[in-house]
């Protein structure tokens, strides 16, 4: 009996320890073994001439991103070039799906095992900076002033939070007008609209209710969708110092922009898909259902794979009453994370990504450079031209950690006016009150 019990206890102890060890192993190293480690074995890292400037101990940087397949392949080339120029520093990358990315970053930050460098959506930088998760770069990154001197002001401004910069503008994009030539020909219109008045008139000329065809369509009511029209009409969300929204988001220009969109919707010239659950703008535009949409440079590659016969036509966003065009800035920033143990090397890598060489390499796969000096460079794909021109006037969304909530307030106001629950003025008055509360 006694020995029997002893054996049982021994067995159960073994089971216990095995389970505990198994349970501890993954918990202890949550971020180990990145899925897509990319080292560049082809490049000789022992360049002897660079030895004096090299960091003493070899450093391996973790770089997180959400690049697409072709972009990731190109990024490997950029890393190879960087490692060749900086012996002693290696870059390992981990790729995430966009939808999982924020959660992954938050998990890493809260567990304390962060990547050294990350590519972030421009709308997230102030939010993460406000959490104290990012390293301030001005005054710390050598050559910071020189690097930002050549960058576009719109993308650069997305890195600023409370008078300091927490990132560098890595790539940029904006939205321009896409017009379906076949639809325009059928409606007897020869050129894309140059002014917002022409835009509104064309949208209705291109509409054919019997064929369920609409002149203009937006992907939704979130701010990104009406933003180009909003900014071109002179709309503003807050004052420049981000202290108040009253008089801005409900100012006369902002109200005029949304009134024009609401009128187009009421007349049936703006497709109802923006309220949710309709034909997607990209497919609808290629099939001729939507005469005009407003979208970004990635549409070229999307159409290349989904609608290879469709000819994409870009045009600048039509000018508003003041005679000026504008649009909204999109893109990504590169940031160094607080908690990185290799901040010096991390900043080197971040700075290298902003170099003309790296920017040109990424441009060939559709990543628009943030360097003004590369505009019009022969290495750029030709369709970049219209986007680069638009970027000169494009505006960034409010760089504020509560931007997500502000976006929501405008989104809801847009919904209420489209459904006829409120006039544009009433809806935006309410949005102004809500945003003011966020700014306190």
């Amino acid at each position: 009996m006694k020995t029997n019990r002893f054996i049982w206890m021994l067995v159960s102890l073994l089971i216990v320890s095995a389970t505990v060890l198994a349970a501890c192993a993954p918990a202890a190293t949550p971020t180990a073994a990145p899925a897509l480690a990319t080292e560049a074995p082809a490049v000789a890292t022992e360049a002897p001439t660079a030895a004096p400037t090299a960091v003493s101990a070899p450093v391996t940087l973790q770089y997180w991103h959400t690049h697409s397949d072709p972009e990731t392949a190109q990024l490997d080339q950029v890393i190879a070039a960087f490692e060749a120029a900086n012996p002693g520093i290696k870059v390992e990358t981990t790729r995430y799906a966009y939808n999982d990315y924020k959660t992954a970053l938050l998990t890493a930050i809260s567990s304390g095992s962060v990547p050294d460098v990350a590519r972030l959506d421009i709308a997230w930088v102030s939010e993460f900076a406000d959490q104290g998760a990012l390293v301030q770069l001005d005054g710390k990154l050598p050559d910071f002033d020189n690097i930002i001197k050549d960058t576009f002001p719109g993308p650069l401004s997305t890195n600023k939070w409370k008078d300091h910069y927490y990132g560098l503008p890595l790539d940029t994009n904006t939205q321009v007008l896409l017009w379906n030539k076949a639809d325009f020909d059928a409606a007897g219109i020869t050129t894309p609209p140059a002014t917002m008045e022409e835009f509104a008139a064309d949208a209705c000329k291109l509409t054919d209710a019997t064929k369920k065809q609409y002149g203009y369509a937006e992907g939704g009511t979130y701010f990104w969708a009406p933003a180009p029209v909003f900014y071109a009409m002179g709309g503003k969300v807050t004052d420049d110092k981000i202290t108040t929204a009253t008089g801005y988001v409900n100012g006369p220009e902002s109200v005029a922009a949304f009134t024009m969109l609401k009128d187009l919707y009421t007349k049936g010239c703006l497709s109802p898909n923006l309220l949710g659950g309709g034909i997607a703008t990209d497919a609808g535009h290629a099939q001729g259902t939507y005469g005009m949409i407003i979208d970004g440079p990635w549409m070229v590659d999307i159409y290349k794979s989904n609608y290879p016969d469709f000819q994409v036509n870009f045009a600048p966003i039509p000018t508003g009453p003041q005679g000026t065009t504008s649009s909204v800035v999109g893109g990504e920033d590169v940031v160094v994370l607080e908690g990185s143990k290799n901040q010096e090397a991390a900043m080197k890598w971040a700075a290298y990504l902003l170099s003309p060489d790296a920017q040109k390499m990424m441009a060939s796969v559709g990543q628009m450079p943030t360097l003004a000096s590369l505009a019009g460079d022969s290495a750029m794909p030709p369709y970049f031209a219209v986007f680069q021109e638009q970027l000169k006037t494009a505006q960034a969304r409010v760089p504020h950690p509560k931007w997500g909530d502000m976006d929501n307030a405008i989104n809801n106001a847009y919904q209420r006016m489209l459904k006829g629950e409120q006039t544009p003025q009433e809806a935006l008055d309410q949005a102004a009150t809500e945003i003011d509360a966020l700014l306190k």
């Binding site: 019990r5 049982w8 206890m9 159960s12 102890l13 089971i15 216990v16 389970t19 505990v20 349970a23 918990a27 924020k102 959660t103 938050l106 930050i109 809260s110 939010e127 959490q131 104290g132 998760a133 369920k212 939704g220 009511t221 497709s271 109802p272 898909n273 309220l275 949710g276 659950g277 309709g278 034909i279 607080e338 908690g339 997500g404 909530d405 929501n408 989104n411 809801n412 919904q415 209420r416 459904k419």
Partner: protein
């Protein structure tokens, strides 16, 4: 020496329980208690030590937030409707499948198939079917049945959006309820029916006086499990409403919790929402069990 003996009996049992217990504490109880702590703070994820203690602020904020109230309404409506319909139809299907007929196995498989299909795929499928401009449902209602004069934009309306979500859950859940009912039905001894027939009871009397009372435990089990599942609804809401579209009026409690936590980095608020849900589910389950016990007595 009775106590000593009991203790030495307990030790091996404890050791056998330990692996499970450790996992439970490490991955369930620990995080649960930690998130209880988070729910009382304006939580800073990078510097938890700088988090500000706010007492019950997060809870008060949630309870006075119209979006949270709306999420409660949506979740309750979804739960009440889907649990009732799934159980009624599930029982009907189980009674049919319990008969002896040709092709019974085929029908059992057919009813269970939706249960094992992926939530993600069928959610997307329902989203396509209810598309406002090119959807199958509008086509049938408008062009074939001519019931509606113009296309309904389902996902533009916070109430109409719940229809595909509820239909999806019912369609997907009938099979599971039916299988559980079927197991309950087959546990009823056939002698009871034979005796009833001898006594001259017709089939509706058999259903009323034999099947229904003897299914009591099965019904309790189904109500408790389905209600808890309903209150924890997440996947169809998230996929079909994209997190509360339009206007944050179509959140379930869990999609709102997810958005607060990971969308707006408001960990304290998200933790408070999950605790409100936990307490609510706990009391609802208690009441259910009590009521069922009373009914059975």
């Amino acid at each position: 020496m009775p106590t000593k003996r009991r203790y030495s009996d307990l030790l091996p049992a404890l050791i056998f329980l330990l692996p499970g217990l450790i996992l439970f504490i490490l991955f369930f109880l620990g995080p649960m208690l930690y998130s209880l702590r988070i729910s009382f703070f304006a939580w800073k994820i990078v510097h938890p030590d700088q988090s500000v203690f706010v007492g019950f602020d997060n809870y008060q904020r949630a309870l006075s937030d119209p979006i949270f109230q709306r999420a409660i309404f949506n979740t309750l409506a979804y739960t009440v409707i889907t649990v009732f319909v799934k159980m009624a139809l599930g029982l009907g299907v189980a009674l049919l499948l319990n008969q002896n007929f040709h092709g019974r196995t085929f029908f059992r498989v057919a009813y269970y198939l939706p249960v094992i299909t992926s939530w993600v795929i069928v959610s997307l499928l329902f989203e396509y079917m209810f598309n406002g401009q090119a959807g199958l449902v509008n086509y049938i209602l408008r062009d074939i049945l001519r019931l509606i004069p113009k296309d309904i934009i389902w996902f533009a309306d916070p109430i109409l959006t719940l229809i595909p979500i509820i239909l999806l859950d019912i369609w997907k859940g009938i099979g599971w309820a039916a299988i559980i009912f079927l197991a309950g039905l087959q546990a009823i001894p056939t002698e009871l029916y034979e005796a009833a027939r001898v006594d001259g009871a017709n089939s509706s009397a058999q259903l009323r006086y034999i099947t229904w009372p003897l299914l009591g435990p099965t019904i309790v089990f189904l109500v408790v499990v389905l209600v808890i599942g309903g209150l924890n609804a997440y996947v169809p809401f998230q996929l079909i409403t994209h997190g509360g579209d339009p206007m944050d009026l179509t959140h379930s409690i869990l999609t709102l919790m997810y958005e607060a936590t990971f969308g707006r980095i408001d960990f304290g608020y998200g933790a408070a929402i999950s605790y409100l849900l936990t307490v609510f589910v706990f009391f609802v389950s208690l009441i259910e069990l009590r009521l069922m016990k009373q009914q059975a007595a």
